[in-house]
Amino acid sequence: MPDNGFEPRIIAFLCNWCTYTGADLAGTSRLQYPPNVRIIRLMCSGAVDASYVLKPLLDGADGVLIGGCHPGDCHYQEGNYKARRRIAILEETLKTMGFEGDRVMLRWISASEGGLFAETIRDFTEKVRAKGPAPTKQLWAL
C-alpha cells in the first residue's frame, strides 16, 4: 500500500435493498474495509441522477461509487438497468469533457455479498489512492 499521506475521500450511493444491506452485512460480519468511504443510502441505484455523482466530483471527491442490485434482481424490476444507462452516459460525458472516467465506479453487490462489498471498497480505495488526489480538489473555478 503506497503511503503518501493521501487519504482518498470516496462517496458511495448505495441502494437500500441490495448494496446498502450488503454493507450492513460487512459490518455485522466484522469485515475490515478502509474508512475512506462516505455512504449515502438511496432507495434504488435508478434514483441516482448524474448530478449526484457530478457534484462531489467537482467539489473534490476522489471517487464516487454507485452500488445496486445485480441485473434482474432490482426491487423495482428495472431501476438498475436505468442506472446502467445513466452511468454509461455519464462516463462518456466525463471522458469527453476532460475527466478521468475511472473515478466513477458502478458495482452490483447483493444483500448477501458482505465480503464482496468490503473487497470492493478495499480495491476502489487503493485504486483511487494510487491515482492520487482528484484534480478538482484545488480547482475553485468550477
Binding site: R86, L90, T96, L139, W140, L142
Partner: protein
C-alpha cells in the same frame, strides 16, 4: 413525387407564399405555423396563420432561426383538442420535434410538415443586416449551421427544395402523392439536388469532425473545462432556448441551488476560494447527461449565449459519444427508442460487473 410550382417574375418568395396559400386552403389543415416578415422588415417571426391573406408576408426561406419551431409545435399539439396544423420547418426543427414527440411533449396527429432545404442560417442581428442590404457573404453562418450535416429535411409531407436547384423559373417541390395533386405540381426533370446535397453534407461533416477534434483538444482536463466555462454567468439561456430541455420542473430552476451562506463558506474554506454563483460547471455537465442523447445540434444554445461560449460545439461533441453508445441518432425517426426512457436487458454488460 418531385414537382414544379410556377414562379412569376423571378419572385421566389411570392411563389412560396402562393404554395402555402394552397396548403392552407386545401381543407387539410386549420392553420399554418410559418415565419412571417415583421413590420420593420428586418426580421422574421414565427406566427400561426389563419387568414390566407397574411401569407403574403410569409418568408420561410429567410436564412435565420430565432427559435426552434419544434417548441412551438409542442405548444400547439401537446394538449387536446388539437388543431390540424401545417408547420413550415427546417431540418433541425423537424428533428427536434421527433425527439419531443418521443418525450411526449408534442404530437404528429393532424400535423402536416412542410420542410425547407436549409443551406444554413445567420444570427438574428446578422440577418437584420442582410435584410437591410448587407452582403450575406460578408457574414458568417451560425457555428451550428457550418457543421450541420442535415441540410435536407426528413419526415416531411412537402419539401421545398433550394439546394442544387434553380428556383427562379419554377419552385422545386417534393410532395407526398396526395399533396402533389392538391398543390397542382407539374412533373419535374431530374436535377442536381442530390449531387449538391452530397457535396454539402461531406463538407459539413468534415467541418463537424474538425470541431469535435478541436473541442476534445481544448477540453483535455477539468482545468481546461473550467477555462471554457470561465465566462459563464449561469443565466440558463442555453437551457431556455434548447428545444429538448422541456422539463417544467427542472431542478436548476428550483431552490436546490440556493445554498445557505455557511455552505459557501465551507466550500471557500476547503478550496481556498469558491466560484460564485456556485455550480456553474455542474449545470453544464448535468445538462449534457440529461439531454445530450436527444441533442439534434440546432446550436440555439450558442446563439443564446450572452458571453459567446460555443456551448453547442461542446454539447454536440458529447452528444456524438453518448448517442453512439446506443447506436442512436437523435431526430432520425419516431420509431427509434429514445435512450433515456428505454433499456435493454442484454446491453452494457461490462458495467457494474467485478
Amino acid at each position: 413525387m418531385n414537382g414544379l410550382y410556377p414562379v412569376e417574375n423571378n419572385n421566389v418568395r411570392a411563389a412560396v407564399s402562393g404554395l402555402l396559400v394552397k396548403v392552407l386552403q386545401s381543407g387539410l389543415v386549420d392553420a399554418l405555423l410559418v415565419p412571417l416578415r415583421n413590420p420593420a422588415g428586418d426580421a422574421v417571426t414565427p406566427a400561426l396563420v389563419k387568414n390566407p391573406a397574411m401569407l403574403s408576408e410569409a418568408d420561410p426561406l429567410a436564412p435565420v432561426l430565432p427559435v426552434n419551431g419544434s417548441r412551438l409545435v409542442s405548444m400547439l399539439t401537446q394538449h387536446t383538442p388539437r388543431p390540424r396544423i401545417g408547420a413550415v420547418m427546417r431540418s433541425c426543427e423537424i428533428r427536434a420535434l421527433v425527439e419531443l414527440v418521443k418525450l411526449q411533449q408534442a404530437s404528429l396527429e393532424g400535423l402536416t410538415l412542410i420542410g425547407v432545404d436549409c443551406p444554413g442560417t445567420y444570427e438574428v442581428p446578422d440577418y437584420a443586416k442582410i435584410a437591410k442590404g448587407a452582403d450575406p457573404a460578408s457574414l458568417a453562418l451560425r457555428p451550428a449551421c457550418e457543421m450541420c450535416e442535415y441540410p435536407a429535411p426528413t419526415n416531411a409531407d412537402i419539401i421545398i427544395h433550394q439546394i442544387g436547384v434553380d428556383n427562379s423559373a419554377a419552385l422545386h417541390v417534393e410532395a407526398k402523392e396526395n399533396w402533389a395533386a392538391q398543390l397542382g405540381l407539374t412533373t419535374a426533370q431530374a436535377n442536381g439536388r442530390a449531387g449538391a446535397l452530397e457535396k454539402l453534407v461531406a463538407q459539413r461533416t468534415a467541418k463537424r469532425d474538425a470541431v469535435f477534434a478541436e473541442m476534445q483538444a481544448q477540453v483535455s482536463s477539468p482545468e481546461k473545462l473550467a477555462a471554457m466555462f470561465s465566462t459563464c454567468i449561469r443565466c440558463h439561456n442555453c437551457m431556455t432556448n434548447c428545444p429538448i430541455c422541456y422539463c417544467k420542473t427542472c431542478f436548476f430552476k428550483t431552490n436546490v441551488f440556493d445554498h445557505e451562506p455557511m455552505q459557501f463558506m465551507a466550500w471557500a474554506e476547503r478550496k481556498g476560494a469558491t466560484r460564485m454563483p456556485a455550480d456553474t460547471v455542474l449545470f453544464h455537465l448535468t445538462r449534457m447527461n440529461h439531454m445530450s442523447t436527444s441533442c439534434i445540434g440546432c446550436g440555439l444554445c450558442t446563439s443564446a449565449c450572452p458571453v459567446d461560449i460555443n456551448v453547442g460545439a461542446a454539447f454536440r461533441t458529447v452528444a456524438a459519444k453518448t448517442q453512439a453508445v446506443f447506436n442512436y441518432v437523435a431526430g432520425r425517426s419516431v420509431d427509434d427508442p429514445i435512450p433515456v426512457k428505454n433499456f435493454e436487458v442484454n446491453e452494457l454488460q461490462k458495467l457494474g460487473e467485478h
